[in-house]
Symmetry: C2
Amino acid sequence: MSAKTVFPEPVVGVDLGATKIYTIVADKDGKILSASKKPAKGERGSDVVLDRVAETVDDALADAGMTRKDVGALGMAVPSPVNQNTGVALFSPNLNWRSLPVKDMLEKRLGLKVFPDNDVNLGTLGEYTFGAGKGAEVMAGFFVGTGIGGGIIMNGKVVHGRNFTGGELGHMVIMADGPQCGCGTRGCLEAVASRIAITRDLRAAMERGVPTMLTDLLGTDTDRVKSGVLKKAYLAGDELTTGVINRAMRRVGIAVASIVNAIGPDVVVIGGGLFEALGEDLMPIVRNAATLHYFGPSGDGVAVELAALGDDSVPLGAAAFAAGKIA
Amino acid sequence: MSAKTVFPEPVVGVDLGATKIYTIVADKDGKILSASKKPAKGERGSDVVLDRVAETVDDALADAGMTRKDVGALGMAVPSPVNQNTGVALFSPNLNWRSLPVKDMLEKRLGLKVFPDNDVNLGTLGEYTFGAGKGAEVMAGFFVGTGIGGGIIMNGKVVHGRNFTGGELGHMVIMADGPQCGCGTRGCLEAVASRIAITRDLRAAMERGVPTMLTDLLGTDTDRVKSGVLKKAYLAGDELTTGVINRAMRRVGIAVASIVNAIGPDVVVIGGGLFEALGEDLMPIVRNAATLHYFGPSGDGVAVELAALGDDSVPLGAAAFAAGKIA
């Protein structure tokens, strides 16, 4: 967190995920004054979810000794692309939203200026403003978890692209005609390097009878290969697990090189659940693969860094996004 | 060419290629008033090449009834990344240049303000300013010839990136661990879809004894598979040629989708020798493959267009680049 003033006024940052809401109040220095969390209850519909968001905002403000009048704006991260002209969330499979006017809906509830955007875009902006990307001119972020999200910041602004899907770096194709991706196409980075892809490859190997300590760790419950289990097997040196994960990480590195060759960022930040669990071990593999795939001098001096803010990257990015709108 | 004033003053645009120099004078409307061409004679060294560039400039100005005093600046496209802070061309294998101060060297010869940049960046800018990308907010260009070059324009500006290699879209990796690329790495778009890659695949098939009319067209001279020969065999429906080229074009389409998913341009322009020869036939294949690889709505309304300016894209882009610097 910076010690100097970075926001024109205190702001609220909301991370609305598929399962939980995490809301912060940040002061002018970008310091988190207070926080509030609640389950999102997405299955009860968007009105309930947004009521609950409003409750976390009031809770966090109260904790900071503030009221809605004391903050300049609210930034909200949602698991959906967001039309920046209308504030409409375009589609969120996880929350079962389609064309939902989240900006209007939350502004009516709170009487605050609300600025929504995609959660991974805002996580990238959080790392750019306060984390591993501080000082970059152009930054790319990859967030490797169940899927792979991404974001691009150029000259302080999120790159939204024509259809507000900009920064979908997990859907650069790095293996033409490769494995099926959850997005419906083939060979995306997400299809070969996300936790879903890693789990798929581990299961297939286990079904072929490849020996692994995962058999003991998971029993029959191969549906639930969480980062914690992967971490345990990886750190124990389990041959199958390290092989599959390291191959996936080389592919992340290849995608890093692709975006460096295409747009030339100063800094690439890698985060997400898998890197929160194993970042120190995985970053050298990502960096080496990137180095092998840079075009000429394209990677000279490019910093490929582990994300620094953990769960705070998204609400801090949301706060920074809102602050940028009222600056 | 636009009918309205687009440049603050008439400008000179130079396309310095590995083998030839093509120089134009453009008026305030971006109309080409005159042109001059000369062999580059790169083998005689950079001083000779830049003397010859200066001669084409004076020839073209004389043809337009102008002197150096009548133009505001000169833009120069070179086959090299160019440090935009210093005007130094970083490396050109074709001209055998390393760290050559082209801006200073040509300014001394001409007494004009000189603005050099990479030739494919400027070809992209030419298409953006006057050709198939007119009116775009964000545009990407792919130029498929011997190799594959690219460029990105955002908000009217060439994206140079940290090391001035921005826009190297031919070196996005689309086939991890795939064929060797001329750049030293593996699986780049250029390694699977350029004329070098197409020729490699055709030769390998011919060596395996696959029947093809290329055997008659080429005789033993498989070193010289030019666009003209490919065009002839392709249009005649030669099974090997159409199969290899169509597969390459699907990979170009995959790369189009990758950059659309990553940064969300409005327009993607495809040009270069292969598309000058066969563009109308190849564009539907590129578009279909792109459509199959867009993430969600990322490709909605994105125009994937054949380049419109042919050889004029580069010198017109050079002119536009210089005009933008003095505007």
